[in-house]
Amino acid sequence: MTIPLEDVRLDERTVTAGPWEVVVWNDPVNLMSYVVHVFRTYFGFPRAHAERLMLLVHHEGHAVVAEGAREQMELHVQAMHDFGLWATVRKAGA
């Protein structure tokens, strides 16, 4: 069987395996100062950026804190869990 050339999409992989995100979710336990501390020390964000993300988590219920390859995002999520924050991996734009 021959596949017609026009049906072969060489860019398909980039469509289905696009970037992934780390989402940090709000919880009533973690102190705001602690969340900022984690964002600064783990991701190396400047204070203003870490505070902005923390406030997003607090007010919107969640924030995207990183974007990239799935494996890398899973490492970040594990690190967030290690700090006691709840984070999940999801496909970007989901």
């Binding site: 102190l31 602690y34 594990q78 700090f83 006691g84 999801r90």
Partner: protein, 163 residues
């Protein structure tokens, strides 16, 4: 940011915290034995939402490491809480001893263990206390006092790092 922090607590506080962290270590031991305590489950939350299969696989790969680290961190905290190599227990302290103060010096590694351990114990307590919203609090329950005291100590350490 400073990396070494000097913290002053009363011997009684240190003794109560020692007791609390020791209880936490027992919980972790049960969990590593395959227990399914919901309070411990909060320490190893889902890594994927709305995808139970991916979440289960993620947990399989990360759970033991995370719990091992909680145990190692707790062991570090317990060591720093000793006075001259002696484990403090609330019942062993007379009034004068209870009020005497203890200076705990925390280097970067110990500090990180303290932050994670205080946070983890607060997460466990929050599950036990049924805290699911920012203003869930029952002033008549003395456990909230302990929960808030851990938060106060955590906040103090974070402020000390920033100084």
């Amino acid at each position: 940011m400073t990396t070494t922090v000097l913290m002053e607590v009363s011997a009684l506080e240190a003794a109560h915290l020692t007791d609390l962290v020791a209880q936490f270590v027992e919980l972790l031991a049960d969990a590593l034995d395959g227990g399914d305590d919901p309070a411990v489950a909060r320490l190893v939350p889902d890594g994927y939402r709305g995808d139970p299969e991916a979440a289960a696989e993620f947990r399989r790969l990360t759970q033991d490491d995370l719990l091992d680290r909680r145990r190692d961190d707790a062991a570090t905290v317990l060591t720093t809480l000793q006075r001259d190599g002696v484990v403090l227990r609330p019942a062993d302290l007379d009034r004068a001893e209870a009020e005497s103060s203890l200076e705990i010096e925390l280097d970067a590694g110990a500090l990180s263990a303290w932050l994670r351990t205080l946070t983890a114990i607060r997460l466990v307590m929050a599950t036990r206390l049924g805290i699911t919203a920012d203003d869930d609090e029952d002033d008549d329950d003395p456990r909230f006092g302990v929960y808030n005291w851990l938060g106060f100590r955590l906040e103090g350490l974070l402020r000390a790092i920033e100084d």
